[in-house]
């Protein structure tokens, strides 16, 4: 059982990074970064994607070695050659991605993280005890793939707590949680702090940080640009420090004038793509010209199948399940749907929306070969595809070195602007876009959201599938929630409070809303 941890004097930090520098080739991911976390403090590490947060915590946890600078633990410099050494010091880490073994049980996952081997039954026993003590119920014998995202995170946290750490690092812990699950996490963190454990909290969600943390270190482009007390700052002032300039929200003109129904889906059911996945279960929706309909939901609730069914990557069981402008298109393929004026932007920009090793012009050709006249008679007109790339780049501020680089050479934000711009420039009648600003810096996100809004105001129908609730609240006229392959009835922007949507995202009150 983890015991109560002695409070340290406030003068000496528990963990300190001193002038830590780390380069990847020409990129300086961390440039003389200083960070000090006193014992018992909840300390936020804030920054945009690519600001260097992940690199710094990987160094603190021994996954990366700094090129210069040092880490000090309780005032004394220490080498942290690997995660084992970090855990021996008392540093625990809760990863958000790539950290659990799907095919293994909860107990096995926890046992793998223990440095002193214990027989599995003992691990299971201790696990139950720890999870009970912190109000994080878990069944040790369940396989991880059976667990919800929130439960997986519990496994991560319990796994970390089993080692009785003095400092717990949490990397973007709420990015995949419903608001209610996030509240549960905050309660756990309060409990941990009450025991005198320090928390290093990595996030770009400002309200969370203001609520949870007593101190914040803000990174921008690998450098520390500010340290502050987030409780006395505003979300806007924190954002300014993070981004360097003011970031406004996307501008919304007059509310939607409901046009005619452009897209409708009737009781669409599809099997899951893989044995442990989620399919669609009688999903229905109506999308009118001129409006933005948001589909909220925690990852893995059938969003990918919904997108595949709408784009034509997966055919519907019958043609009349999906109707576009009065025509049943459920059995048509992607190209046929594009010819009808539909456009699609999948979630994954590298590998799904764009071929990483193809040039931008070639990627433009792949999406527009049927509709943009890029290849009359089957012969590619390179000048036309290049010209299209130029127009996208100008309209969406796609920053790139060469005129026509390979897709993988672009940064995430710039490639996302390209793949969204590629579809919007065609002036589609229907746009289906999945996670339009995932992992994109604030500036690019704003450009993309504004473009989506403008497209809708020009009379197109837009469906946005997103796990980012803030994004949907900002741009959607109506929001429906997808849970276990079922779609809720949409809420209007006025009805759609964070709390109501959060309840639907957790599967509660689905019957009441439907």
């Amino acid at each position: 059982m983890p015991g109560r941890v002695r409070h340290l004097s406030a003068t000496m930090p528990l963990l300190e990074a001193r002038r830590v520098t780390r380069r990847f080739g020409a990129l300086v991911a961390n440039d003389a970064v200083d960070l000090a976390v006193p014992g018992g403090q909840a300390h936020a590490l804030l920054g945009e994607n690519g600001a260097g947060k992940s690199t710094l915590v990987k160094i603190l946890y021994g996954l990366l070695q700094p090129d210069a600078g040092e880490i000090a633990w309780r005032g004394a410099p220490v080498p942290i050659p690997d995660p084992r050494a970090a855990r021996a010091l008392g540093i625990g880490m809760v990863f958000q991605h790539f950290s659990l073994f799907e095919a293994m049980t909860v107990a096995e996952n926890v046992a793998l993280a223990l440095d002193v081997p214990e027989p599995l039954p003992r691990v299971a026993e201790r696990l139950v005890a720890v999870s009970r003590a912190y109000g994080l119920p878990l069944e040790p014998q369940r396989e991880v793939w059976r667990l919800s995202v929130g439960e997986r995170q519990r496994v991560e946290i319990v796994r970390c707590l089993m080692q009785d750490p003095r400092l717990i690092i949490l990397d973007e812990p709420t990015s995949v949680l419903t608001p209610q699950e996030a509240d549960g996490l905050f309660a756990t963190l309060d409990h941990l702090r009450a025991e005198g454990r320090a928390v290093l909290y990595i996030s770009h969600k400002l309200e969370e940080v203001r609520r949870l943390c007593e101190a914040a270190t803000i990174l921008r482009n690998g450098r520390v640009v500010a340290t502050c007390d987030p409780r006395v700052e505003t979300a806007a002032s924190l954002a300014r420090m993070m981004v360097g300039t003011d970031v406004g929200a996307a501008r919304r003109n007059a509310t939607a004038e409901a046009g005619p129904v452009r897209l409708s889906v009737h009781a669409l059911s599809l099997p899951p793509p893989e044995p442990h996945g989620v399919g669609l279960d009688g999903a229905s929706l109506e999308l009118r010209a001129g409006e933005v309909l948001g589909i909220a939901g925690v990852a893995g609730n059938g969003q990918d199948v919904l997108f595949a069914a709408l784009s034509g990557e997966q055919a519907a069981p019958a043609a009349d399940r999906i109707i576009l402008d009065g025509a049943p298109i459920g059995r048509e393929d992607i190209t046929a749907r594009r010819r009808r004026g539909a456009a699609f932007v999948p979630e994954e920009r590298l590998g799904h929306a764009a071929v990483p090793r193809f040039r931008l012009s070639e990627n433009a050709l792949l999406a527009g070969h049927a509709t943009e006249g890029f290849a009359p008679g089957g012969l590619v007109r390179r000048s036309r595809t290049l010209d299209f790339v130029d127009r996208i780049s100008a309209a969406f501020d796609v920053r790139k070195g060469a005129r026509d680089p390979e897709a993988r050479a672009l940064s995430g934000g710039n490639l996302q602007k390209f793949v969204v711009g590629r579809e919007i420039l065609r002036q589609p009648r229907l746009l289906v876009v999945c996670q339009p600003t995932w992992g994109v810096d604030a500036g690019a996100a704003r450009v993309i959201r504004q473009a989506i809004l403008d497209l809708a105001r020009s009379g197109a129908a837009v469906l946005v599938i997103s796990q980012d609730l803030d994004e949907l609240l900002e741009i959607a006229d109506r929001i429906a929630v997808i849970f276990h392959g079922r779609l809720s009835a949409p809420l209007t922007a006025a009805q759609a409070t964070r709390e109501r949507i959060g309840l639907l995202m957790g599967g509660a009150a689905m019957a009441e809303a439907a």
Partner: protein
């Protein structure tokens, strides 16, 4: 000795090399490395085994040389796919072809040199039990070794912490690395084990089954071992079923030909392969198309240091 007894005895000898090679590959694949070069490692084991056995006059030296030869080829493969992160499929195919060629050179001076095979171990009294006695208690050491290997591997994967770590590397190398495990080292050791087993299986061919050397004498058994791993859905005990199914069909087909069953011998000779394909299809169907392969199988892992 009855006919059935004779058939069962030959089934055991046909299945043993398949089982040994498959169990080695199973470990490599559970660690996440797909080594398609089993055929090459196996035939190198056969060639090195007979060469060492004839030169030194010791069967034990032959077996040791076979194991070392298999491990040497696995080490080359490991350097390519782990050290240099090359494509595992391409490197594995190259390894198979390389092994076939090199073994021809190594074995050339020994072509057709006859040699007494390795004798059988008789368990006193028990081997006198009618029918079961000769089947279970009068076998060569390789047969006992193959079952010891299966039991050992099943225990290792299911019950030991090292086995858990090995499976973790095969499931999600990035996560195992993030917990502080040396993924590449573990995968390399798994590959060496696979090479040792393939070499041992090769030694069985050239020292026991047909106790002389002919080039290309593995005749595709390495590929069948790969199929058995899939057939077994990466579970060690099911590999026994796969190996004996394949070995059994091979022998039955021989006897059917001997008994004059009016089917072209070519079709009969193809039967084991057809059965393997059919079994794989049926297993996939029964599972609803999903895969039970280790999630990280075949994916190179490069730690970002």
């Amino acid at each position: 000795m009855t006919l059935i007894e004779a058939i069962l005895l030959t089934v055991i000898t046909a299945s043993t090399p398949l089982l040994i090679a498959a169990i080695g590959e199973l470990i490599a694949e559970r660690a996440g490395v797909l080594n398609l070069g089993v055929e090459g490692m196996m035939i190198m084991g056969a060639a090195a085994g007979i060469a060492a056995a004839i030169t030194t006059g010791s069967s034990a030296a032959g077996v040791a040389a076979a194991i070392l030869a298999g491990m040497a080829l696995a080490a080359i493969f490991g350097l390519l796919v782990l050290g240099l992160a090359t494509n595992q499929v391409a490197a594995g195919l190259a390894l198979a072809i390389f092994g076939l060629g090199l073994s021809g050179v190594l074995g050339a001076p020994f072509v057709g040199v006859p040699r007494a095979g390795i004798g059988k171990i008789e368990v006193p009294f028990l081997s006198d039990i009618p029918f079961l006695g000769p089947l279970l208690f009068r076998q060569d050491p390789f047969v006992y070794a193959s079952f010891a290997l299966v039991a050992g591997v099943a225990w290792f994967l299911g019950r030991t912490r090292a086995g858990l770590v090995l499976r973790a590397c095969g499931e999600n190398a990035a996560a195992a690395h993030a917990l502080g495990y040396k993924v590449l080292r573990i995968r390399f050791l798994a590959l060496l084990f696979g090479g040792a087993c393939a070499g041992l299986a090769g030694a069985y061919l050239s020292l026991v089954l047909t106790p002389f050397w002919t080039s290309g004498m593995t005749s595709g058994r390495g590929w069948i071992a790969l199929a058995i791993v899939v057939f077994a859905s990466w579970m060690s005990w099911r590999a026994v079923a796969g190996a004996y199914l394949f070995g059994g069909v091979t022998i039955l087909q021989l006897h059917a030909q001997g008994a004059g069953v009016p089917i072209p011998p070519q079709a009969m000779a193809a039967l084991p392969y057809l059965v393997t394909i059919l079994a794989l299809v049926l297993i996939m169907q029964a599972r609803g198309g999903g895969s039970t392969a280790p999630a990280g199988l075949g994916t190179p892992f490069v730690p970002d240091r």
